[in-house]
């Protein structure tokens, strides 16, 4: 039971942007204390799903159970309590540009705890050390490289020692070496702090390195949910296409395509 307990459960989640349906009634579960990767092609709704999981967007219908509480039905006050248990690393790190790294990492601590400033300073240094950024306390985000920003964003996400960590495309825009470094950091966090980690990505090397459990989205549906080993042997055509990096089959014959772009 303890091994496979679900930390997050999503039931029949439907989401729209305006009139456009993005996720069509999806259901899945995220096991506790493991790294779950949400995989899928560009524009299939991964970031959208992540924003629902952290309560930034409200679903059209369906449930999102986090520790058995349905965040889709919570008010802002209740959501804020849940959010203190979550750390999020956004696609572009989303550090506050007007503050130094130290202040960025200290922000959640200053807002949500009554700790002495000297204590906060020590905690900030610990978090920055954890992500390999000690000595950069007084740098501003604009003075950092993309990889350093991501690690700083991770330090901030870790500030309140959250139960859940969410990553949106952690390795996007990073060179392979830096990306692998970030992956190792994610593994370390799972092993050392026993956190439940959810990573959104489309980078295959990263998936095989960090995932315990994989959920694959396609066109707003879950096409696969299972362990990494199950993913490797899956026969689902979309999964195979993704794993073998095969391009989308041509929808149009050349003549049709010409007629399509010519506009009749």
């Amino acid at each position: 039971m303890t091994e496979m307990e679900d930390a997050i459960k999503v039931n029949n989640l439907v989401t729209h942007y305006g009139d456009r349906v993005i996720l069509k009634s999806i259901s899945f579960a995220v096991p506790r204390g493991q790294t779950t990767v949400i995989l899928g092609g560009s524009g299939c709704g991964k970031s959208t799903l992540l924003k629902h999981l952290i309560g930034l967007l409200r679903p059209t219908s369906g449930q999102i159970l986090i520790n058995n509480g349905n965040i889709a039905a919570m008010n802002e006050g209740e959501l804020d309590e849940i959010r203190k248990k979550m750390g999020v690393l956004f696609q572009g790190a989303a550090l506050l540009n007007s503050m130094t790294l130290a202040d960025n990492v200290a922000l959640p601590l200053r807002e949500h705890t009554k700790l002495e400033d000297s204590t906060i300073q020590i905690m900030v240094r610990m978090k920055l050390d954890l992500v390999g950024l000690s000595g950069f306390e007084h740098f501003f985000p604009s003075q950092l490289s993309g990889g350093m920003k991501k690690r700083a964003g991770l330090a901030r996400a870790m500030a309140l020692d959250p139960e859940f960590l969410f990553f949106d495309e952690p390795s996007a825009g990073l060179d392979p070496v830096t990306a692998a470094g970030l992956d190792k950091l994610i593994l370390k966090l799972r092993d050392v702090f026993k956190m439940t980690i959810v990573v959104v990505t489309h980078e295959l090397p990263s998936v095989f390195m960090i995932a315990d459990y994989v959920i694959m989205l396609d066109l707003g549906d879950v096409v696969f949910a299972g362990t990494l080993d199950e993913l490797r042997i899956s026969e689902h055509p979309r999964v195979r296409m993704f794993l073998e990096r095969r391009p989308e089959t041509e929808v149009y014959s050349p003549e049709d395509y010409f007629r399509f772009i010519a506009g009749d």
């Binding site: 924003k51 804020d80 956004f90 989303a94 550090l95 540009n97 922000l107």
Partner: protein, 268 residues
């Protein structure tokens, strides 16, 4: 083929629905801002004092030079224009009354508001808009920090304090501009000028000007913040939202000015 009427009323309806949504979003922003400025401090969650002080410096203190220079020039212009007419009537001394009343009741507050709308209203929209585009606003929410409390309330407090303060400065410097011109170019005796100003200027003239200034401060902040939060896309939208924040806040300042001027005219 759709008829002309269909197209016309369709467009009208969409426009109306669009502005209705804008109105709804604006009133929600005003509500939230009011909650985090007034209600939540009473419940023991104080406003961000340090951020408010830094906003006071940015929006208020740094505007003092430009506000002073413009008020001084306007004081001179106003005195000259008044003299042009009053000289014909042989009532040159009334330049002092005219300058005093127009500056304190009208020009001081509105000049200040327009300068601050251009400097700070646009800065608010640009700051919040670029934070929105870079997911920084989402990051705040995900940390359980309300972006209105974090970003808007300090600006609002600073503006509510500094717009009246800047207006007092503009009043003072504007009056001095009129005085300076009158005693030099127009040859009015300084003590006569001061006496005339003092006898025609009433407390309520200054007071109504400051009430206006306070309201302008609120309007500029809300417009700037609203335009900032409206940014959905990337950097180019930040630019266009910044522009509209200046245009709309100057428009709102004039509308509020009209409202208050009519109100005070009948009240007093």
């Amino acid at each position: 083929m759709r008829s002309i009427a269909e197209i016309f009323f369709g467009a009208l309806g969409r426009k109306a629905l669009g502005s209705l949504k804008g109105l709804h979003d604006t009133s929600r922003l005003i509500n939230t801002t009011f909650y985090w400025t007034v209600v939540s401090p009473l419940r023991g969650k104080p406003v961000r004092l340090r951020a408010s002080v830094s906003e006071v410096v940015k929006t208020g203190y740094n505007s003092i030079p430009i506000v002073s220079v413009i008020a001084f020039f306007v004081g001179i212009i106003l005195a000259l224009q008044a003299a042009y007419q009053l000289k014909k009537l042989g009532a040159l001394i009334y330049v002092a009354s005219l300058v005093g009343v127009s500056i304190t009741r009208e020009l001081g507050p509105i000049l200040t508001a327009i300068i601050v709308a251009g400097r700070s209203g646009s800065a608010f929209a640009a700051e919040i808009g670029s934070m929105k585009a870079a997911e920084e606003v989402d990051a705040l929410i995900s940390m359980g920090i309300n972006p209105v409390r974090f970003l808007v309330v300090p600006k609002l407090l600073a503006m509510m304090l500094m717009l009246p303060a800047l207006t007092i400065i503009a009043d003072g410097v504007g009056l001095f501009g009129g005085f300076f011109l009158s005693v030099t170019l127009l040859g009015i005796h300084p003590s006569n000028y001061i006496q005339q100003t003092a006898s025609s200027l009433m407390h309520k003239d200054v007071f109504t000007g400051l009430v206006k200034a306070w309201a302008f401060g609120v309007a500029i902040t809300i417009v700037g913040a609203y335009q900032g939060f409206k940014v959905e896309g990337g950097a180019e939208e930040v630019g266009s939202r910044t522009t509209s924040s200046v245009v709309i806040s100057i428009f709102m300042v004039i509308v509020f000015d009209l409202f208050f001027t009519v109100l005070f005219y009948f009240l007093t």
